[in-house]
Symmetry: C2
Subunit: 418 residues, 2 copies
């Protein structure tokens, strides 16, 4: 007999959101020889183990330049530390330079990856059973999963145009929308971006409806060739309507697991929303590893706070791969039966096909065709069949993209014949 | 008008457990010149920044010795990684050597500090509103805080002798005790340890009542001089009744923020409880920073998996400080009005006085007497007045202990006169 019965554990453990992540991880382990257009991890081309001690040394030097003696430098990097983090001032300078976001460093909580930033934000906002989160749909699995962990239902919003209707319907049902989660730049999984008028309209709507916007921006620094970046919602936010969720996984170093949240909202009992999130963080991870923070801090110092500059080579790789992906799709599917998005940046292309794309098809694709991708059904919080799949181009070479597309084309044409 | 109203946020934010941590942090920042017998952090005497690259290099070498090529070594340390961690095999070897615990590495989840291990475990166990956690009382604030974050009420258990009565009363009230949290070795805050017969009795009770034991062991490696360590509950556990919560903050390096949980319980849907915790972890921190894990992994390799050996100097410091603390109390309070525990190890001594010890008294102590300590009231989940305070001896010198005790004696004698 088993020691524990899963049905007596928290409901999230049997939820599709959490098992989806698991399934996708397992299949890539199970078919290591398949070419993966599934993985959204950053390119490893420029990884260098020597960067770690170099960044640590730069950060230590920065502390010395600020006047800390050797004991204080050691303590800052090696001891328990400030709950809100030790690189908040460096992150604020990075936001000013790369994003035009001006923010009080005290409004920043440095987190154990952006995932913890999401969890803290949703935990704070979920007070009772009438609370709901609105999220752009399809949505990143991590936000749905974090919502599950705090028992916060997610209402899908297909489009900013439909936001008001969803808010009104929720309120009519006695529900309290606590925030609207969006990824305005090169979104995961859709690849889509919001145009500037939509951004302004969304901020106006948020003000009119007293809604908090949760802006997630892991891919903003990676526009396609010739594309000008648009200002983030947070850069346009004059009324503290936006909680900004930041990641260094794609622009810094994934192995540091350092992210952050900008929460400059005032609270009635004093201080900032960031201080409330900090109280929660002290019960989740206590503080983000200062060694890991020092690595990211050193990288920020190394690039004079411009991760745009530091990621020039990476941006070119991603832009080239994105072009290879969409050009390759165009060359292989001239008929119109298969369509796809042409994103203005980021890692992801969504391919729509005239048949249902599910986990069984992915398993078949891995096993018989040697190519991995992600069924779009994983990004919808419903059991409805979905005719689309997500391709990622961040962790592959141009040659791998070519071979993978050939295999995908074979799979699709075999499916079309069936 | 404030942007957010705290009363509309999660209830934990106004809870004493979370605000306690905050208050204690703030007061130590506010009175930086006061001597602190409050801080439970490890000694900084042997901190060395050069250890970080040295440990990283040792871990990289270990990966090469396992047959990984350079790209795989870089990927393991710098890329996103396995949710359950990359040093699980090293942790298992450490547990075998230091604790006599034999465990399948697959049953280990490496976490962003032991705090995340607690949160994951409580999140998994809290399924509905009838669930409660039993915890030894007084208890570490972190377990109470983590319970608050998952809306899990905590029932205090003053003593193993009273466990059965608390379990029965809870069940009679329609509640479902999901686990019993204990720190059998040199506990925070009580300083007390369970004797061997009590450990055996507790395991028998757990089997008879079908209870999970959550064993937290951050201080086990630090017995007082001449004290023999007792086996942990997990080492005595033949029926997988114990979830073991591990920390490297005191024995490894606090700045790495690496802990772990051993969850070898089987579950009815297959796999181990660790695999369920891993699913939750993917929505809390995705994975523990592999850079931070590599630092701890390198330290484990460096000491041939014996943190007991690696912490010989630290153990001597703590044992000496503990003696200085209890001897110093004996010299200053011969009368019997003031009493204290004489722990067989760890960082903490509890002093009982004939007056109420609250935050106001702590503030007075900091301001007028220049000494910090922790009111024991912070470790009880109740508003009842408590006549005791906790002294910590881990982050001070013998001279600081002397001066701090003089100041504390002045405070206490002034209070006795009042």
């Amino acid at each position: 007999m088993a020691d524990l019965i899963v049905s007596a554990l928290h409901a999230s453990l049997t939820d599709r959101a959490l098992n989806s992540m698991n399934f996708l991880n397992e299949i890539s382990h199970h078919y290591p020889d398949a070419i993966s257009l599934a993985a959204g991890r950053p390119t490893e081309e420029f990884f260098d183990l020597d960067d770690v001690p170099r960044y640590l040394a730069l950060f230590a030097e920065h502390l010395r330049a600020k006047g800390l003696d050797e004991a204080a430098v050691r303590r800052t990097i090696l001891q328990y530390g400030r709950t809100k983090g030790i690189i908040h001032e460096l992150v604020a300078r990075n936001l000013a330079i790369d994003e035009g976001i001006q923010v009080d460093p005290e409004a920043i909580v440095v987190t154990a990856g952006c995932q913890e930033a999401m969890l803290l934000t949703l935990r704070a906002l979920r007070a009772d059973a009438t609370d709901v989160l609105l999220a752009i749909s399809p949505a990143y699995v991590g936000i749905t999963g974090a919502a599950r962990l705090v028992d916060l239902p997610v209402l899908p919003v297909p489009d900013v145009d439909e936001l008001l209707a969803v808010v009104k319907a929720a309120r009519a049902d006695g529900l309290r929308p606590r925030g609207f989660y969006v990824m305005p730049d090169f979104a995961n999984p859709s690849g889509l971006s919001m145009d500037l008028p939509t951004r302004h309209r969304l901020l106006e709507l948020a003000a009119a409806e007293d809604l908090l916007l949760l802006e997630d921006n892991p891919y903003g620094l990676f526009p396609a060739d010739g594309v000008d970046r648009l200002p983030t919602l947070k850069a346009l936010d004059t009324e503290r309507r936006v909680v900004y969720l930041g990641s260094f996984a794609k622009t810094g170093l994934p192995g540091a697991r350092v992210g952050y949240v900008v929460a400059d909202q005032t609270v009635d009992t004093g201080g900032l929303f960031a201080d409330q999130l900090s109280k929660l963080k002290s019960m989740v991870t206590v503080n983000t590893s200062p060694i890991a923070q020092a690595v990211i801090g050193g990288k920020l110092l190394d690039c004079d706070f411009s991760l745009t500059a530091a990621n020039q080579r990476e941006r070119e790789i991603y832009a080239g791969n994105l072009r290879a992906l969409t050009d390759g799709l165009a060359a292989r599917f001239p008929g119109g039966e298969v369509t796809w998005t042409v994103p203005s940046g980021g890692f992801f292309v969504v391919v729509t096909v005239p048949f249902v794309v599910d986990d069984a098809l992915l398993t078949k694709s891995a096993q018989e065709y040697g190519v991995l991708w992600t069924p779009m059904s994983h990004f919808y919080d419903t059991d409805a069949p979905i005719n689309a799949l997500r391709l990622s181009c961040s962790a592959v070479t141009a040659d791998q993209i070519k071979a993978a597309l050939n295999r995908l084309a074979a799979l699709i044409s075999d499916q079309l014949v069936l």
